[in-house]
């Protein structure tokens, strides 16, 4: 395999980890919305951490190997699709980071309630459906999806 093929494979692997991890987190978050028992919700929110770990590795791989690809192929650093992708990469990480912090507090509440009576709790349900947290998490995923589209259409290339 050439240097270009390695860089492309690892960059695409990063994209699979980033977006695939977001799918994992999304699947378990949606499943948590349909449950009432804190122990089940806590289990589902604990599983989202696997997705978050994949996203974090993917974030680093897409950027690192993406920059390497720009260098190997000889794209211009000022090309529209590259600039937009880098901006959206920052936006996606910022939204995901803030949303992730809020989700962590929800998970800790679910774990605490599970250790106590493990009965339905209005505050936990309210936090799970908090529109700000949902907008942050889904907005982060949407920004990553737009980056994927930019990688394929390459506007301004």
């Amino acid at each position: 395999m050439s240097k270009y093929e390695w860089a492309l494979f690892l960059h695409i692997t990063g994209a699979f980890l980033l977006l695939g991890g977001a799918v994992i987190a999304g699947v378990f978050n949606v499943a948590a919305l349909r449950r009432e028992r804190p122990s089940e919700i806590a289990t589902l929110l604990q599983l989202t951490r696997w997705g978050v770990a994949a996203v974090l590795i993917g974030v680093l791989m897409t950027l690192g190997f993406g920059l390497w690809l720009v260098d190997i192929v000889g794209y211009g650093w000022g090309e529209t699709w590259i600039v937009l992708s880098l901006v959206l990469w920052l936006v996606s990480n910022a939204l995901g980071g803030i949303g992730g912090g809020r989700d962590k507090r929800t998970r800790l509440l679910a774990e605490r309630l599970a250790a106590e009576e493990d009965g339905p709790d209005p505050e936990l349900q309210m936090r799970l459906r908090d529109p700000v947290s949902l907008a942050l998490s889904w907005g982060s995923g949407l920004a990553a999806l737009v980056i994927l589209a930019l990688m394929i259409w390459k506007p301004g290339a």
């Binding site: 494979f9 692997t13 994992i24 999304g26 499943a31 994949a54 259409w153 390459k154």
Partner: protein, 141 residues
């Protein structure tokens, strides 16, 4: 390099193909996680398979065929063969995993159906990783 000379008309099917493959990989990983012995979530692997994994497989496979019809690739390159093999055998694996996950939902006392569904999902995830290596690095191209 291929990306730089790709006709614009290939972009939509390629985007949908990659999107389908990524969602499929995430869904299959979710099934493997939700089937783990320590996780007691009855019915979740079956719902992920039917609502996310199978639809995303269809998206990936149909758009893959769409690109293939546009691209007119000469010969029968290894990378394309790997992609089609993983894709087509993968449907059989997905359907068996779905059947065992359904059985696990109906018979929560039995451990083997859930373990089988999780094991098949994990194996298919590994096969998908081979496919995305083949489709991106294109060995034999």
């Amino acid at each position: 390099m291929i990306a730089a000379i790709r006709p614009d008309s290939w972009n939509l099917p390629l985007f949908l193909h990659v999107l389908g493959a990524i969602v499929l990989a995430g869904a299959v990983a979710s099934v493997a996680l939700a089937s783990a012995p320590a996780v007691a979530l009855r019915g979740l692997p079956f719902r992920i398979l039917t609502l996310v994994a199978v639809p995303s497989w269809l998206l990936m496979r149909l758009t893959g065929q769409w690109i293939d019809s546009k691209e007119d690739i000469p010969g029968d390159p290894t990378w394309l063969g790997i992609g089609f093999t993983v894709s087509d055998l993968g449907l059989a694996v997905l359907l068996v995993a779905t059947a065992t996950a359904w059985w696990a939902q109906k018979r929560p006392g039995l451990r083997w159906p859930r373990q089988a569904a999780g094991g098949l999902a994990f194996l298919y995830l590994l096969a998908l990783a081979v496919a995305w290596w083949a489709m991106s690095a294109k060995p034999g191209a």
